[in-house]
């Protein structure tokens, strides 16, 4: 199955075949993403995406099961980098410090232009299929985050509550911050927004703000 049998190293260079495969997948995902931004979700058809990427529409279906999946693919790839960014921090650093050091900046890189992200949110709000794909991507990110958190804390991701709980909460913070960055016009600094959310999580969720007012 694996094409590079001559080298047992984990990071063996991909080989021409794998590189082409990754390139076409990247081209398809990017084409789908661009098409959605420029002409809306309805313009994203297997035919148009395949033509923009220079392959046949049949090949498109070899890579993605739906247009939504193709659109979110680029997004999903960026999400995966979050966990890697945390893993790249010094191993003896407390997890919370790593998260606070990495996530605000990483999130900024992920979401890209505010206008583009606004378009994505609008499309998602109008298409259940897009929402579902986005939630799937978020869920995968949660798994990756839980794994790296478990690595760092010496916990077992399958037997301890803490890694999944923390990962899920951090994801809620990321999602909340990103949403408000676009919809809530007042605050415009995404890293600060996320830092605020994460601080609340670490210190205990805001109890002062959550007393009944009536």
């Amino acid at each position: 199955m694996e094409t590079n049998g001559h080298c047992g190293g984990m990071t063996a260079e991909p080989g021409l075949r794998a590189r082409k495969k990754a390139a076409t997948r990247l081209a398809l995902g990017h084409a789908a993403w661009s098409l959605m931004l420029e002409r809306g979700l309805d313009a994203v058809t297997p035919e148009s995406v395949a033509e923009a990427a220079g392959v046949s529409s049949r090949t498109f279906r070899n890579y993605f099961g739906s247009r939504e999946e193709a659109i979110v693919d680029e997004w999903s790839r960026r999400h995966a980098s979050l966990a890697d960014a945390v893993r790249a921090r010094p191993a003896d650093e407390p997890v919370w410090d790593s998260l606070l050091a990495v996530l605000p900046r990483a999130l900024t890189d992920i979401v890209g232009e505010r206008a583009d992200f606004a378009v994505l949110l609008r499309v998602i709000s109008e298409s259940p299929a897009m929402l579902a794909q986005n939630l799937l991507a978020l869920d995968r990110t949660g798994q990756l985050l839980a794994e790296v958190i478990a690595e760092r804390t010496g916990a077992d991701a399958d037997r301890d509550l803490a890694p999944r709980l923390l990962a899920g909460s951090v994801l809620a913070a990321v999602s909340t911050a990103a949403t408000f960055w676009v919809t809530g016009g007042a605050r415009t600094d995404l890293p600060d927004l996320l830092r605020e959310c994460l601080d609340h999580l670490r210190a205990g969720l805001p109890t002062a703000d959550l007393a009944p007012t009536a």
Copy 2:
């Protein structure tokens, strides 16, 4: 459009027509759910579900766009009761107290038999479509929770960070507790499990457990 025009009250009784509609929807959802539990996901086809509910397969498609949607429908309905249960608490109670008082017991009612829930988790882990539908249901629950939290705290769900952040984190706690209730064999008391997660959230996510061990 609305069948009961003679009465402007919000809680006007549904009328026979609406009740029948709700009944067939309930029957379809229940049939799909039962079929999945007894014979697995593959046995859940529009034809079999419709036959079990006593309607035509075309009617099935009038209610649900896919078999996964039908299966999760029952589940989604139970989820929605979470927000209502919180709303039923005294209005002057702090939100955290309401959540801790309601959620552990409500979650127990929702998940039902442990064996059934285990089957659901297994099916979800094997079917991306089922996972997507489950995540959609969870997302809807998050919206409802954020709304009721905003009501109780006097915050604006669209302009304040806290309600969404808290709702998302609570959802992470619910999901984590339910998952470990099934997979982690040691702890068998679901309410205690959820209480532990919620306590961690309220007090600030576990920092003692999250120091690097290496």
